[in-house]
Symmetry: C2
Subunit: 336 residues, 2 copies
């Protein structure tokens, strides 16, 4: 028998998640059946979506999420021992997984990590995985940016936002990013090539946008919602497109008592704006198309990425909490 | 020389428009040049959009809007004397109009009122004109309703909303309307065939919707914005569509200091909703398609309409103010 540890949701979060909202449980893994594999986590993902999704899961649920894992035992030919696999295995150090079973998340079923041309395999959780595809499909498919247009991105120093801004540059757009610290802002303009970046905590957004985007904003990739979004949306151009990826501003709030912000419908009508929310699973059937394009851009030197790495499986809750506090730059991962 | 009266914007509105925000000006009309016609108003339109649009016009501007007018003199062959014409002639009792000139509103250029099969010509301002087409195109093109789906409409007893709800019924949908008085609510269910209707001023919307739409809402036609919209949007289904026609809740407010409402981005993401605002001029090139279909539905007894008629050109401001206060049922018009 193999011993394994996993984190379960011990209490539903109230406001910001806390360490004792999680419980580390030890168990013995069962023997493999046909079609199953046993994996050991190499790197695990912590993502903003986990905060709002937790509401839909009962206390005692194993925390959900993706990981890169090494296959250490296999009863499935397509998943040989020794290979690295990406899957929705949750916050588990070791696990037995039925790789043939339809995944309820709607995300791609477990897949062997493609050839990353020597790049870190943990990127399969970030720029070469769900967050990269979130940026790639969510921005290109919903905003449909054209060269010469102006693009605004919030949460711009996050895993998704930093990729969206760079894709917009690759497509010939002018890019304006918003992030929550001066260090992040500096990284966006000096390293990633954003045309302008602002610390939304210390900037008069209305004024800053009038100067940085005197001709208005055509595309807005929204990670935050709330007042910042209302301010940006007011300065959009006719037929502007808004892709809504997240609403971090609301994640720590009670869903039955959401925060308020200036209403956006007046701008939506007057400028004939289109706003669409998405979950990346919508493009599960095009998953490798996105990853291959992102990999190519990295290899060509057009797309940069950053990881904030926390060491040790037992530090998953800390990594998650700090990511929600905005302490990460780029993708937050935990390496075992 | 012919004397003519028109209303100009004497002051910019602060909060609700008031009688003395308008000034009635008398002038002499010029002689006709080639391509011009002289018209006398028969019926004039007062519409919610006039409130927010006024912000973009300087004091002294002639109030803008459409009217049905009789051609009393003509130097344009396509516009013969005696015919009725629909055009963006503003709040004018009499006017000289260059019918060849491109209209800055983007709406169709002046057109002779089609054969309405004996129905009142003033309908060219309502269900067989801009408001009818606003409902027809704005709902069908952006919400893309399917038979069996559930549709919510706010401002449901207004000119546009009452038409949207009936079109939804024609398309085989379940329809839930929200209006601002018990009389209006009664009219929606007993006369227009709405499945449910609620007085949003006296109803717990969250509870009412859970009962009336236990399977959630697929399409939402939004005339109001604000808190009511936030509440409805929270109860929408995956891949729901929101057509934003107006935001009456904000029209009397300072655009630089809009009212606040619970943020909608969390629902937009989680349910992958699509929200789009529109101005009906987008479909100017399909104008008569809409009117012909609406006329056919009226003739077949499938589509009902109502007009709230104010008599006398000099009462334009009163009719406008009362319409914004929600005193009308169906289309508000002024007959000269």
């Amino acid at each position: 028998m193999v011993k394994a540890r996993r984190f379960v949701l011990a209490k539903h979060f109230v406001g910001e998640p806390k360490e004792d909202d999680f419980e580390l449980v030890e168990e013995e893994l069962p023997d493999l059946k046909d079609g199953e594999i046993r994996v050991e986590a190499v790197a695990l993902s912590v993502d903003p979506y986990m905060r709002p999704y937790s509401v839909n899961h009962p206390v005692g649920t194993t925390m959900f999420g993706s990981q890169v894992a090494r296959i250490v035992e296999s009863r499935s030919e397509a998943y040989p021992v020794g290979k690295l696999v990406v899957g929705q295995f949750g916050w588990r150090e070791r696990a037995v997984v039925d790789v043939g079973k339809q995944d309820l998340t709607g995300l791609p079923k477990p897949y062997i990590v493609p050839d990353f041309k020597g790049l870190s395999k943990s990127l399969a959780l970030g720029v070469l995985g769900m967050t990269g595809n979130t940026a790639y499909f969510g921005f290109l498919e919903l905003c449909k940016p054209k060269a010469g247009e102006t693009v605004a991105v919030t949460g711009a120093a996050g895993a998704v936002g930093s990729t969206v801004g760079q894709i917009a540059k690759i497509k010939g757009c002018k890019v304006i990013g918003f992030a929550g610290s001066d260090d992040k802002v500096k990284w966006l303009t000096s390293e990633l090539g954003f045309d302008h970046a602002f610390n939304y905590k210390t900037t008069d957004i209305d004024e800053a946008l009038k100067k940085a985007a005197p001709n208005g904003i055509d595309c807005y990739f929204d990670n935050v919602g709330g007042k910042l979004s209302s301010t940006i949306i007011k300065q959009m151009n006719n037929f502007g497109r808004i892709s809504v990826c997240g609403s971090v501003a609301s994640y720590n709030e009670d869903p039955s008592n959401l925060p308020e912000a200036p209403i956006i419908q007046r701008a939506i009508v007057g400028k004939q704006l289109k706003m669409e929310g998405f979950l990346v699973k919508r493009w599960s059937n095009r998953w490798l198309e996105g990853i291959n394009q992102l990999l190519q851009w990295i290899v060509e030197g057009k797309l940069k990425y950053n990881e904030t790495v926390t060491r040790g499986f037992e530090n998953m809750p800390t990594a998650f909490i700090e990511m929600l506090q905005g302490k990460n730059v780029g993708k937050a991962v935990v390496k075992v």
